[in-house]
């Protein structure tokens, strides 16, 4: 790992909490690793599990999924639905052999700028240590895209 591998991280975040939280990280001048590409969605309830798979097949080495804390959802229940889906999806990913260390789930509120920086740093460090996601990328390399 000496030859400076920099992971590509994709973050799916909700518009109302985590995106605002990430914005606060910036306005608070907190520095964090720039590996992350943030994709803003209306709500965690909108984060289809297929987006995670798409991120991996398009070259992501790690994925972060984050939204409002339970009880804080702008749409009152989107994050509760999302949580149920993640519970099953995570088990299924594990069963199908997707490395769960590459997928980070979190609640980050609009006031938690520092938590966002910490989360991104931690997730990025973990994935950097794991190296590129060869198992998926090998598959994409041989075929269609």
């Amino acid at each position: 790992m000496a030859d400076a591998f920099e992971p590509k991280m994709t973050a799916f975040v909700c518009n109302w909490c985590t995106y605002a939280g990430a914005d606060l990280t910036g306005t608070s001048r907190i520095k964090y690793q720039s590996n992350v590409r943030v994709i803003r969605l209306p709500c965690t309830g909108r984060i289809d599990f297929m987006m995670v798979m798409k991120a991996f097949s398009r070259g992501s080495d790690g994925v972060i999924i984050s939204g409002c804390h339970p009880n804080d959802c702008h749409y009152t229940s989107g994050n509760y639905h999302a949580r149920r889906r993640w519970m099953v999806f995570r088990d299924l990913m594990d069963f199908m052999g997707i490395d769960l260390r590459r997928v980070t789930f979190s609640w980050v509120s609009a006031a938690e700028g520092a938590k966002w920086a910490e989360l991104v740093n931690e997730a990025t460090n973990t994935v950097r240590a794991l190296g590129p996601y060869k198992e998926i990328q090998q598959l994409t390399a041989v075929g269609i895209d």
């Binding site: 798979m53 149920r84 519970m87 099953v88 069963f95 199908m96 490395d99 789930f105 979190s106 269609i144």
Partner: protein, 266 residues
């Protein structure tokens, strides 16, 4: 079996049903689905231990529905599928009648309540072979599991037989066929194959009756049913609710509890 033939004959003669969906003799010792529409053909109906396909998949097909009221020869998983379809508002009570053989005697179940009652008395357990495979897989390391599924799914030709054979895959517009955005490449390729089977399992989680018909339908012998059985199993474990138990209950993934317990969200 005599009872079944007589019952089917009587139902068709009286006009109570327009079609009996049942099993007929297939190649060799196999059984295949048949659609009996006239009383003189009820002799073709067969029922024995070789009848393992869940026929409920035909209940939602437009071609079959157009025939009129349906009677269906039901094994336990078929009864569960009927309940799940009813819960999802895909089936009306007045359009279907289940004929099931339990403890050697024929029962006619005309209402969802009757089916619920019957289903509650039948223990649902997946086969020992499937349980052993799932135990074996869960005991593996992640990379071993990855290798296992990569090798299995490599054979997938995307014929969608698993989708077609599944009673719960009734959507007229499937994610698989969506090309804008194209979530899954059409070609049978390792990446799309992994995602296809993941989507199928996720979409069936909480609704699967664990009949195993998808796995039996696979022409290249991929144990695809293990994925849906596993996904359904996680739903049962997390949320204590199972597919095909009730004609009224919302399925687990469309509802939530504020105190759902997870351990991985930071």
């Amino acid at each position: 079996m005599e009872d079944l033939n007589n019952k089917a004959k009587q139902l068709l003669e009286s006009g109570a049903v327009k079609v009996v969906i049942g099993y007929g003799k297939g190649t060799g010792d196999t059984r295949r689905p048949i659609f009996v529409r006239a009383a003189e053909h009820t002799g073709d109906l067969v029922f024995d231990a070789a009848c393992t396909q869940n026929l409920a998949t035909y209940l939602t097909k437009a071609e079959v529905r157009a025939m009129g009221k349906m009677a269906i020869v039901a094994i336990p998983s078929t009864l569960r599928s009927i309940l799940q379809l009813a819960a999802e508002k895909q089936l009306r009570e007045e359009n279907v009648l289940a004929l099931t053989v339990l403890d050697g005697s024929l029962r006619e179940l005309a209402t969802f309540a009757a089916i619920e009652e019957t289903v509650a008395t039948i223990p649902d357990a997946i086969s020992n072979a499937d349980q052993q495979m799932i135990d074996k897989l869960t005991a593996m390391s992640v990379s071993e599991r990855r290798a296992f599924w990569a090798a299995e799914l490599n054979r997938c030709v995307k014929c969608y037989a698993c989708r077609s054979s599944c009673p719960m895959c009734y959507c007229e517009r499937c994610t698989m066929d969506s090309n804008r955005p194209q979530w899954i490449p059409v070609a049978s390729h390792a990446v799309g194959n992994l995602e296809y089977h993941m989507v199928r399992a996720m979409h069936l989680a909480g609704r699967c009756v664990q009949c195993g018909t998808c796995g039996a339908a696979c022409p290249v012998g991929i144990p695809v049913h293990l994925l849906t059985i596993f996904a359904e199993g996680t739903v049962r474990q997390h949320f204590g609710q199972k597919g095909g138990a009730s004609a009224k209950l919302d399925y687990a993934m469309t509802t939530f509890k504020p105190d759902d317990k997870e351990t991985f969200i930071r």
